[in-house]
Amino acid sequence: MQVKRKHLIGLEDTTPEEIETILNTAGSFKSIFNRKIKKVPALRGHTVVNLFFENSTRTRTSFELAAKRLSADVINFSVSTSSVAKGETLIDTARTIESLESDMIVVRHSCSGVPLLLSKTLKSSIINAGDGMHEHPTQGLLDLFTIKEKKHKIKGLKIVMVGDIAHSRVARSNIYGMTKMGAELTLVAPPTLIPKDIEKLGVKVEYDLRKAAKNADVLYMLRIQLERQKRNLFPSIREFSLLYGMDEDKLRLADKDALVMHPGPMNRGVEISSEVADSPQSVINEQVTNGIAVRMAVLYLLSGGETNEIDSFSGQSN
């Protein structure tokens, strides 16, 4: 299996078949994690640049580890906004990076649209590691992978996603991914955090979490930026937590085997209680581990790799 694409900008334009291929490939890579030597020579000689315009230790580390486990050379390049202040534009910075002969650039930026812009300007493969409020496709893929691993299917599952949908790139990528794979997705948030006409993406919108949580198979809690309160998007942390935070009481309304997910980092006691976060139903730590396998799959497939060749790497290392 192969994917015929150079860039991964979002899940909006990926097909269910491509998603399936990436998830299967990630599965093959994950099986390597149990070995003593967790490294394969799949991308030996390739250069992967992590170009981060926004702080993110978690995602950057995950990509870095994924690339290293594929034996790629990895460069981490963090650009503070200070170089923008010096007059260097985004395009200048990106061209400078590409002059390092990179094959793939993993980009994170606080502005929506930056990965697409770079994909049109540069020769390297571009992987979106989160752009503004737009998409975070590898997060969406690792979430799908985690659900599939635990539930053995995605189609027909009742998934409830709760929180700051309006400002969330994780929400957008998951909306595309989950609906493409046949899940029934309900978004839950106060109306101030539901973006305009989101129903057109094939999801339901519900303001009452208790109602939506009933019989849910997956409860996906989004991180709330506490500063949103200053913009009057909700009245107080206390009220948000009461109405939209996941606690044991609300969790009981869901299916008894329901998964609890969160992209991290969590605000314990705000969108998720510690009891729920640490409960047996929580798969939050598995999401992080799966992120490495999924990012390995994405790096590998975008460089033209084939899934059925992965087994031939067995026992090899460099």
Partner: protein, 428 residues
């Protein structure tokens, strides 16, 4: 010097003329309009198959000088104007320094005159420094040559200050041109709030942020009894308020710009910063409402909001790119292609909205082919088909979303005060 434009279709909305006629220009004035005009001293230019219209007037442009000469200068701006068929432009006060004092007004007027191309009419800032706090020396600005006052540089949020501006300017009977936007509602926003902004993950401006201020400004103008002109109307709700206000007899006029009836916010799809302007591109429903409003004269005129920006302002992240697009060299073609050829407006109506209407709003003694009027004339080839190429533009800036568009209709000749300033794309 005498000139006869022979056998063109003369369309003069002010005088309800629409016929194949000759037109004689003498000493910079319109001397005679009629059939079979003969004058052995006159140069004759055959304009068979072309439209002879009053000189087009763009009442909303940004010429950027003084302060932002890398984007546009008055010299490059008036070249773009005559190339696009415009004989007069009214320029907005968001220069650096702001056009809130007579020195800048005089500079703009004198630089405009020096070029001997399109007439340049300055619009001064309502408030000092465009800060929206204290009103400018309105009387002195008008005496010095400002033809209107505007808050286009920065909309005035404080209704009390706006009220006093309307009240004070009443003595001069000139319009206040307002950019209607509740800035509290649009902070950090970069496009229209809609399904498109949801998908793109960009902060969206509610159309209500515009219509609220359209209503506020109409209410103030009505209360005071002063005229108000609403700049660049972009949404359905604004149109409905203006239509209602006109029915009440309130002295309101309004414009829209070609991009608002040619494009929707779906054009933002690939984060093309040439689709970023303020007000933003709206929805298909808004486009329909604007077309209906042009048709029933709720919208009096079409203005380009020509807003030149350099590459360093536009080749950026969508969030950081400047708002605005150029329009002087595309407005006529887009109006003809999207409104006239598609039978939304008659040709007479389109010409009226590009000449006579803005002249009336700005109290300019232009925009007609009346005998004795200044011979500002645009000769238009409505049938010429071509592809828009910003590389050939006279404007210093190229920030247009219409590059590569196939259009039908262009300016054939631009005549100002009886002198030919542009013919077949060449500036003379």
């Amino acid at each position: 010097m005498k000139l006869i434009l022979s056998a063109g279709r003369v369309i003069d909305p002010a005088n309800k003329v629409n016929d194949i006629l000759d037109l004689l220009i003498e000493d910079g004035k319109i001397k005679k309009v009629g059939k079979g005009i003969k004058d052995k001293d006159a140069e004759i230019i055959k304009v068979n198959g072309k439209i002879v219209a009053p000189g087009l007037i763009d009442m909303h442009v940004h010429l950027r000088e003084p302060g932002f000469e890398y984007k546009e200068t008055i010299a490059s701006g008036v070249r773009a104007a005559v190339k696009g068929g415009f004989t007069s432009v009214a320029c907005m006060p968001n220069t650096e320094p702001v056009m809130d004092n007579t020195a800048v007004v005089e500079l703009v007027i004198s630089k405009g005159k020096k070029e001997k191309l399109a007439n340049v009419f300055p619009i001064a800032s309502i408030s000092k420094g465009a800060k929206g706090e204290e009103i400018s020396d309105i009387g002195m600005l008008i005496k010095c040559g400002a033809i209107a006052l505007s808050d286009d540089a920065a909309p005035i949020m404080n209704a009390e200050i706006m009220r006093r501006a309307f009240e004070y300017i009443k003595q001069f009977d000139l319009p206040i041109i307002t950019h209607c936007e509740d800035k509290n509602m649009t902070a950090d926003c970069v496009m229209n709030e809609s399904f498109s902004s949801t998908v793109l993950g960009l902060r969206g401006m509610a159309s209500a942020a515009e219509s609220i201020m359209v209503y506020r400004n109409i209410a103030l103008a009505d209360y005071i009894g002063a005229p108000v002109h609403i700049a660049h109307v972009s949404c359905k709700e604004s149109v409905e308020i203006i239509r209602w206000a006109k029915k009440q007899g309130i002295r309101v006029t309004a414009e829209t710009a070609p991009h608002y009836f040619c494009l929707t916010d779906a054009a933002v799809k690939n984060y093309d910063t040439n689709t970023k302007m303020n007000p933003p591109l709206r929805t298909a429903e808004d486009v329909l409402a604007l077309k209906a409003a042009l048709k029933d004269d709720t919208l009096d005129c079409i203005a380009s909001d020509h807003a030149p920006h350099g590459r360093t302002d536009k080749e950026l992240e969508f969030n950081y790119a400047a708002f605005g697009i150029i329009g002087l060299e595309t407005m006529l073609a887009l109006t003809l292609t999207e409104l006239v050829h598609k039978k939304i407006l008659t040709l007479e109506k389109a010409i009226e909205k590009l000449s006579y209407s803005p002249a009336k709003i700005l109290r300019l003694n232009r925009g007609t082919l009346s005998l004795g009027a200044a011979a500002d004339i645009s000769v238009i080839d409505t049938e010429k088909e071509y592809t828009i190429d910003t590389g050939k533009f006279e404007s210093k800036s190229k920030n247009s979303p219409f590059n590569g568009w196939k259009v039908k209709g262009e300016a054939f000749m631009t005549i100002i005060d009886g002198n030919i300033k542009m013919k077949e794309g060449k500036i003379l």
